[in-house]
């Protein structure tokens, strides 16, 4: 067994800690101009008039009329405009940029722009479906007809804000016809492809460079394409270098969030009190434009039974369009909503059926060889029984559960079991991403990873460099991995979907292997590798049938809480986690992902509140949008199980999202125990707990 998991200092840690690291806002270019976005102040309506003040010399207005190509940000659906033309679909929708040589001048013009609207009645409820998906497994209809009884519940989840440390932004320059954008991004080629469409230009006229990213969590997957397109249009018109970086409040008010959801689940129960079939409806609020929402919906639907096997399923889902800020990618990508619903549902079913929850869940736990929700196969070993035992042992789960259930002390312990599909859904990797990597060796026998993977703090640089070093039997110092620049690196895909270690890392390992086999000391060598889907994978996107993912990572979270009797504030006392990520490529980095993921996942379940009033988000700064501080964060204990995956480098699977998706149900189940009420909504805030306590 490889010892690659042995931790090394993160390669960029010194520069980050010392303050030497440059982020996009630290770049300075001679003659820099500044851009500020003029935004709608209504949720829905039509622009009637725009009144501009006289523009001082050097100040330029950039709007939809300046777009050489299509006024749409290239994503999956073409419904998201670069700039609003006449119609306004959400509060804060970008209408134009004011660009000028100083912030004072830009601000002065900005303050004098007057826009009048014909307001229309906005829609905030989940009633306008724009995408609906549907799939079945087995024969749910018969199972429901033959059921002894059926039980149905609805679960709701709220917004979540990524709250990355560094807000979104780019600095752009123009040289002849060529646009160069340096930005805080997760997907350099997404931005490049979007800009090409908007400018209607040649691919070689757009260059995207990733600046060191101060956190992303999915928030910098698709949204930067919008800013990138706007800035590219401005560069073409103004012909000066321009900085477009959001302020924290602007970022929080207008960038994509985690989709609020409403999930209804109905189970058919047989004579033995087992679940024979489940019908689910997954509704997610897409906001004003679809963006990636349909993909988020499909990931949620595919997680319809999470870590359990149910033989008969009917899964329906809708993306609803509302007049709110578009929702989008966020670590977990639909799975946190679904896994919350599944875990609560299993718990509530066991209670309704007077079954021991633990035993009831074990009876339904997925095993190797079982059919997945989409009738694919769990091919690899599933270590969950051992992992669950371990989690129970280190947390004292059974003893504490018995104690807290019989005590009035408002303490609780909750456990969640879950999986996360690694990489893009279905044939996404093979059909859409088609990842390519390039490894280059120079005369000094140093090896350069030329890939589009982004290190946003999660450790992609260190882990991928370790993979190359290990294969090549070179010291880490002989491996280099610069921030991606689309003029240099091939498209190895976006840094999303827990795919980087497994998919890109796998390609890096194969390329390194090839260099190793043909090693010529002192001579430059270049190797290219492209993604090949494992032969066993079959997927039909139209029917959601087959293997949705090449591999699954698995996890168990246990969360212990106490609830204050006077204020109903929840204190998270301890968090225990057990994960199977295939093979850890660096234990400290995986533990870092685990601690951060659980913090974000648990906080999603009880702490982080975001609401809108008339389409305007109320919590728009880090004072009002509450994320956990070090004082709120409980002690964590994490155990990793080795379960190497044949196609991952050294057996690695995904780790980034897995650690988030189980946090919310674990804390919600613990809270249920503490207050002896059923939780069906997150975040389970004190305000919500009060409603539950008052509903006696």
């Amino acid at each position: 067994m490889s010892t690659i998991n042995k931790s090394v200092p993160k390669v960029e840690a010194k520069d980050k800690i010392s303050g030497k690291m440059k982020y996009v806002s630290d770049y300075h270019v001679e003659g820099l101009h500044y851009a500020k976005t003029v935004r709608s102040t209504i949720a829905k309506g039509v622009i009637q008039s725009i009144e501009l003040p006289p523009l001082p010399e050097g100040v330029t207005i950039v709007d939809y009329q300046d777009i050489p190509g299509k006024n749409v940000v290239k994503m999956i659906y073409e419904d998201w405009p670069v700039f609003a033309e006449k119609n306004i679909s959400h509060y804060g929708e970008p209408i134009m940029l004011v660009v000028g040589p100083s912030k004072e001048m830009v601000q002065a013009v900005f303050d004098k722009i007057k826009i009048t609207y014909q307001e229309e009645t906005p829609i905030f409820d989940m009633v306008q479906s724009k995408v609906d998906y549907h799939f079945t497994k087995g024969d749910p209809q018969t199972a429901f007809q033959e059921a002894k009884k059926t039980i149905k519940y609805t679960y709701e989840t709220g917004y979540q804000e990524q709250a990355y440390i560094e807000p979104q932004g780019f600095i752009g320059t123009l040289e002849d016809e060529k646009v160069t954008l340096i930005g805080s991004i997760q997907a350099p080629y997404y931005v490049k492809n979007a800009v090409i469409d908007t400018l209607s230009c040649k691919p070689e006229d757009v260059r995207i460079i990733q600046a060191t990213v101060g956190g992303a969590f999915g928030g910098k997957e698709e949204f930067p394409s919008l800013i990138g397109c706007q800035l590219a249009v401005a560069l073409k018109k103004v012909k000066k270098p321009i900085k477009l970086i959001y302020e924290r409040e602007e970022d929080m008010e207008v960038t994509t969030k985690r989709h609020p959801s409403k999930i209804t689940m109905e189970a058919a129960i047989d004579e033995e009190n087992n679940i024979t079939a489940i019908k689910s409806h997954v509704g997610i609020d897409g906001g004003a434009f679809l963006g990636l929402s349909s993909v988020v919906l499909s990931r949620a639907m595919i997680a319809a039974t999470s870590a359990y096997t149910i033989n008969h399923l009917q899964v329906d889902g809708d993306v609803y369009i509302t007049n709110t800020v578009p929702n989008g990618a966020f670590r977990g990508f639909g799975a946190p909503q679904m896994i919350f619903a599944v875990e609560m549902f299993i718990n509530h079913l066991a209670k309704d059926l007077n079954e021991d929850v633990h035993d009831f869940r074990l009876r339904h736990l997925a095993k190797q060889g079982d059919k997945t929700t989409t009738s694919g196969t769990f091919r690899d070993p599933i270590l969950m029984p051992e992992m669950i035992k371990k989690a129970c042992q280190i947390s004292g789960y059974h003893k504490k559960k018995a104690l807290y259930e019989s005590s009035e002390k408002m303490k609780g312990i909750g456990m969640s079991w879950f999986l996360h599909g690694c990489g893009f859904t279905g044939s996404g990797e093979a059909d859409h991403i088609k990842a390519k990597v390039k490894l280059r060796k120079d005369e000094a026998d140093h090896v350069y990873l030329e890939i589009a993977a982004v290190d946003m703090g999660q450790g992609a640089k260190t882990t991928l460099m370790k993979v190359a070093a290990e294969v090549l039997e070179l010291p880490l110092e002989a491996i280099h991995f610069a921030n991606p620049d689309t003029d240099i690196v091939p498209d190895s895909g976006p840094t999303v979907a827990s795919r980087t270690a497994m998919v890109v890392g796998g390609l890096v390992a194969r390329a390194a292997q090839e260099i190793n086999e043909n090693w010529q000391s002192g001579k430059p060598q270049i190797v290219h590798k492209s993604y090949k889907q494992p032969d066993y994978m079959e997927w039909d996107q139209a029917t959601f049938n087959g293997d949705a993912y090449p591999a699954y990572s698995w996890g168990v979270n246990v969360v212990e809480v106490s609830v204050d009797p006077a204020s109903l504030e929840v204190r998270v006392e301890h968090i225990w986690s057990v994960y199977d990520v295939g093979k850890s490529l660096d234990d400290n980095i995986v533990i870092g992902q685990a601690d951060g993921g659980t913090a974000q996942g648990v906080a999603y379940g009880y702490l982080e509140v975001m609401n809108h009033r008339n389409g305007k988000l109320l919590q728009k700064n880090m004072t009002d949008y509450v994320i956990p501080t070090a004082v709120d964060m409980a002690k964590t204990e994490t155990v990793l199980f080795d379960n190497p995956f044949a196609y991952g480098p050294y057996g690695a699977k995904g780790a980034g999202e897995l650690t988030l998706v189980g946090g919310a149900p674990a804390v919600a189940i613990a809270i249920e125990m503490a207050i002896n009420k059923r939780v069906s909504k997150i975040p389970a805030t004190p305000e919500y707990l009060m409603e539950l306590m008052n509903n006696d």
Binding site: K103, A566, R571, P628, T629, A630, D632, E687, M690
Partner: protein
């Protein structure tokens, strides 16, 4: 042309205040945030600023007869660690903001900002704190509770500055501070409570309760407190519902981005009840 001033003596500061209207900045942890602008641009103040953080003469904590006197430019972190700081005030400061904010923020700033959710005011109201206010011609005293008129509104005149916080020495057999915020540190209160009491020979001799963030101004009902004195703790505990009923006319919270009125009222009641139950 806006001219900001950074005086080093109180006399200088008072002279400036006599000339024109200034916004007085002590630590700036409220005002700088309230007036923030696009990064790299100066904050958007509509009046010139009088930065008072260099008034070294106003940085002290001393004991004088029956009073603790705190210079108005003394930062909260100093107060947190000072031996003369009253216990209940120390408990409150300990949970306020973050260490970095406490290092520059002041009690006088908290008073001047007059936020209904200010935590230090809970202790100052409960301790019957007064402030010394100076202008070039006059020195006057006011209780903290009389100085604060409403959210962000004080009775401070344009030419005046708070120079000292005067806290009568008091001793209690028990004190309690409960802060209910969105999280356990660095949070603005949804509701917070201070309770101080002296119980001697099973008789309540002194009791004070203050609640923030449930009305336009902090709540302290001395009429109710008086009614509880000379009673036994058990008499009070049996009478909790009537006491809450008496407070209910004052507890008039609102919905906002941090919480809602039902929860604020529910929790305020529970905190009063919990404190009375500890007597």
């Amino acid at each position: 042309m806006v001219r900001h001033r950074i005086p080093v003596t109180l006399e200088e500061a008072l002279e400036h205040l006599n000339e024109t209207t200034y916004k007085i900045i002590a630590g700036g942890t409220d005002l700088m945030v309230q007036n923030r602008a696009w990064s790299e641009l100066p904050p958007k103040f509509d009046a010139p600023l009088l930065f008072c953080f260099n008034l070294e003469a106003l940085k002290y904590v001393k004991e004088e007869n029956a009073f603790i006197k705190i210079g108005s430019m003394t930062d909260l972190e100093t107060l947190l660690h000072h031996p003369l700081t009253p216990e209940i005030l120390r408990k409150v400061i300990y949970e306020m903001a973050s260490p970095a904010i406490r290092k520059v923020s002041t009690l006088s700033g908290n008073i001047g900002n007059a936020s209904p959710a200010a935590d230090s005011l809970l202790a100052l109201y409960a301790l019957d704190a007064k402030v010394e206010i100076k202008s070039q011609k006059e020195t006057r005293l006011s209780t903290v509770s009389e100085l604060i008129l409403g959210p962000r509104k004080t009775a401070l005149k344009q030419n005046e500055i708070i120079t000292e916080i005067i806290i009568p020495k008091s001793s209690f057999t028990q004190t309690c501070f409960v802060k209910v915020g969105g999280r356990r540190a660095d949070a603005i209160s949804k509701v917070a409570f201070v309770g101080c009491a002296s119980v001697e020979n099973n008789v309540i001799k002194d009791i004070r309760m203050t609640i923030n963030a449930v009305a336009a101004r902090l709540i302290r009902r001395q009429d109710i407190e008086k009614g509880l004195c000379e009673k036994t703790p058990d008499e009070v505990k049996q009478n909790v519902n009537a006491i809450l009923e008496a407070y209910s006319t004052s507890i008039q919270p609102i919905d906002d981005q941090r919480s809602n009125k039902d929860y604020r009222k529910y929790t305020a009641n529970n905190l009063i009840k919990a404190f009375l139950n500890t007597l």
